[in-house]
Symmetry: C2
Subunit: 513 residues, 2 copies
């Protein structure tokens, strides 16, 4: 077993020893006692991931009408090799995530260093003293067969262990507020029985003090409004009983801007859990719909992007229509329909399928193959074809590579023995594709290439002039625009310079001269 945990910038941190844990416990007791004396409630946030760490900071930043801090927050992160580094990093006032949002470093510095209302720890003792535990454990879907999301499932064992830990430590009056996106039914059918079992073992009468469990999902938008998207936005919640709802409502009203964005309370946690996965399924479906029409548009001389713009003029009824691209990535749209579809059978044992949503995931997951088809119209054999993939993250002007469609694209290009070079101004290291080097220099990526795939619409690529691209590539490569950022004018320039140009949903190119 490794006894170090390495942060993304390479700093090594020793996993704490038992002796250190004894000292930490002493410290936790002291701090908690002081904070309680100050009249603050104690909140533990379980999991210092992408959502949990910022949520912890938002809670720690909450004040009452007199500007008094309401909560002290223990940010709990297990002492694993993968993630322990977050504890010491947070405790210096530095966020454990990188973001383009300037508020992220600010809020960590303010809460950890200035106000001292946030502190990370690896001890479960944090739960023992908590009035509220916010659950931000990561929960993934597994799709064992590429292109068949109906086989997708959710391994809940780590989540269940997390709930067991809470059941062992929390006071009977503590609210468990699940913020993780979970399969519908999780609070009622997983969290509740697990916690009840642990309570009963501890001699707590669950008839008298039934566990307090609520669900309220985040709607985090990565990017420039990361903190604000947690704090200043619409929230949905519910609880497994009236008291849970009451405590959750009070807590959310304290930490969020619910004056501007009033809370939506649903009947039960099934509804709140369903709401989250449904809203992401809605988006996944709208992308899949557009992808199918984009493929048709390519063959009948139509620019689907202009059609989309025409349709979206109808605000309020048609403006949610999403755009086609290389494919769909990220953490939510790729998995949430799977969580929902799986839950109907695995959690509720009912015979209902969410076919539209699941078929949409299939269309979205396999969409990068369409770009390969576009190349194959020019190169029937991909072996030894030199291909530059520009952009490996899943969204423009972001460095997030989770489930990026470029990953699928490159895997299939490699399987076909193409020679692939990649470039992304926002990604230095690609955790999901460790063996794929990312060129720092665009020129290096483009030099001598046969095909340039504009995979992601990063601003840097948007601004590139055709002459410059061709100078770097030293030839007239096939240009493929996956993200609709070549204007008709630019396409005409490429054509004039002797390139062939293709684009996802851009069937009108054949009529451009």
């Amino acid at each position: 077993m490794k006894n170090i945990s390495i942060s993304p910038n390479g700093t090594e941190f020793q996993i704490p020893t038992d002796a250190e844990s004894v000292l930490e416990l002493k410290k936790l007791k002291e701090i908690t006692g002081e904070q309680k004396k100050l009249g603050r409630k104690i909140v533990a946030v379980q999991g210092m991931g992408f959502v949990g760490c910022v949520m912890a900071a938002v809670v720690a930043d909450a004040v009452d009408e007199n500007g008094k801090f309401l909560y002290f927050v223990h940010g709990q992160q297990r002492a694993s090799a993968r993630s322990f580094w977050k504890v010491p990093v947070i405790n210096t006032g530095v966020p454990p995530v990188s973001s383009s949002d300037a508020e992220v470093p600010e809020i960590f510095h303010r809460t950890v260093v200035e106000k001292k209302t946030l502190r990370a720890t690896w001890l479960n003792y944090a739960y023992k003293v908590a009035d509220i535990v916010v659950v931000d454990i990561q929960l993934d879907a597994t799709k064992p067969a590429f292109g068949d999301a109906s086989q997708g499932y959710c391994d809940m064992s780590a989540f269940r262990d997390g709930m067991k830990t809470l059941g062992k430590y929390i006071s009977p009056e503590c609210l468990i507020l699940v913020e993780t996106t979970v399969p519908p039914g999780t609070c009622e059918n997983v969290v509740k029985p697990v916690v009840e079992e642990e309570f009963t073992k501890r001699g707590i009468d669950i008839k008298k003090t039934p566990p307090l469990i609520a669900h309220s999902y985040e709607r985090v938008m990565p990017g420039a409004k990361y903190v604000s998207s947690i704090r200043d936005f619409w929230r949905v919640f519910s609880g497994v009983n009236e008291k849970s709802k009451y405590v959750a409502r009070e807590f959310l009203n304290n930490i969020l801007d619910t004056e501007k964005y009033p809370l939506t309370e649903l009947d039960n946690t099934n509804a709140s859990e369903l709401s989250k996965v449904m809203e992401n399924s809605y988006r996944a479906t709208n992308i899949a719909l557009t992808l199918e029409w984009a493929k048709c548009a390519e063959k009948i001389g139509v620019d689907i992007h202009k059609v989309r713009a025409a349709i979206r003029k109808r605000k309020g009824t048609h403006d949610n229509l999403l755009r086609p691209s290389l494919g769909v990535g990220g953490y939510c749209l790729t998995k949430d329909p799977v969580l929902a579809n799986w839950a109907m059978d695995a959690i509720f044992h009912i015979d209902e399928k969410l076919n539209i949503a699941i078929n949409s995931v299939n269309i979205n997951d396999t969409m990068p193959l369409h770009t390969i088809d576009l190349i194959k119209e020019e190169y029937s054999e991909l072996k030894d074809v030199r291909i530059a993939v520009l952009g490996v993250s899943y969204l423009e002007d972001l460095g997030d590579t989770r489930h990026s469609p470029s990953e699928t694209l490159i895997k299939f290009l490699n399987e076909n023995w193409a020679i692939v070079k990649t470039h992304d101004p926002y990604v230095e290291y690609w955790p999901e594709m460790e063996n794929i080097p990312i060129q720092k220099s665009l020129k290096e990526a483009l030099k001598g290439t046969n095909v340039i795939i504009f995979a992601v619409g990063h601003s840097e690529y948007m601004e590139l002039e055709p002459e410059k691209v061709l100078k770097m590539s030293e030839g007239t490569p096939l240009i493929i625009d996956c993200s609709n950022f070549l204007s008709d004018e630019k396409i005409k320039k490429y054509l004039k310079l002797g390139c062939k140009v293709k684009g996802v949903g851009k069937g009108h190119i054949k009529n451009l001269r």
Copy 2:
């Protein structure tokens, strides 16, 4: 052959004789000559249906900046037994459609009687003198197998005949503006070759004067803003060549409020045609998505309508999410995905399927069977069960019954030997279900019934108090709410009064007391 044509209110009109047609021709020549002298352009509208007649009135109502009328409109309607009555009716200044929009009778009276810029005729001579022909011929999709829209097709023979007529009569400089929702590819691949063939027969050099053909689809909303939805709303258009685009642009700018709603010009007519069927497919898909989730919600205690409201708070990204109901009706959402899917093979000969849209049509078309399933949970055998269906139109507070989901519902109820009574305050006569009487009295419809299906959310039903309903029904029937208009308070009342209550997407009812 019948020689009379009967209007909906029962008035009989003689189909014109040859002698009458000779007189009409003389009149047409006179009027056209006068109107040309007044400097007005001549527009013929082909087809006085739901869209055509109001479009004709909008064109006839258009004025320039000095308040001078720009166009004289011949509303052309063939002298068929089914539709000839529209000609004499329009010519008295009365609209041939009923509508809740007060502007409909106003605009007909103004243009026909006061300004005399609109007149209906059955003669093709209208095309001969036209500067612009607006095509509003009805074009349907046929779905030969219930629940399998992939087999759907479009019989274009009548439309093709209409285009042939135009090719025979119009001047080479006349613009054909297709407003009908057509399968993508129609202008390029049907209208153009048909007209070119007729032009060539007439000795017109189609190289020198290629036919002018454009497409611009309407976005008519039946109801209180019928006229305004044609005139004061976003429009998309394109043409088969530059001159067609130019003439169409000028015409649309003259007749529509394009200052407030600027025109969207697309690259070609394929794009414009695709745009229309895509925007309706988008809506059909969003309904189908919700229907699948609604069925799940019912089984897991969730009110999908409250979930939908929670999701729709996210304006601009999630507020197009549509609501579940008995099913999907109307003229557009039920057929437009079929037109598109069929066109890919039949018109473009390409191997692309629009599966998401087509599967959505299947889900929507078969949805009324779900309400039957809800009844079957209480009555395993529907034989002799007395069922009241409240609402037979396809939309609340409208009398339009085209492709109404109540039609499917009642057909299946009848097949199962249930005893069905229907009621609808907006429908006196149901053209698609001539043998089904519609009770005038709600009391008569409800008396002694075992099941009440609130099928359509008409205001009259919304206001009904449970006590009153049960008094009329003289018992405690099963209540089924298909349109989410029973509030939780009302449901509780029904439960208290001894009824069972179920609802589409309303799984929370089982937890209400």
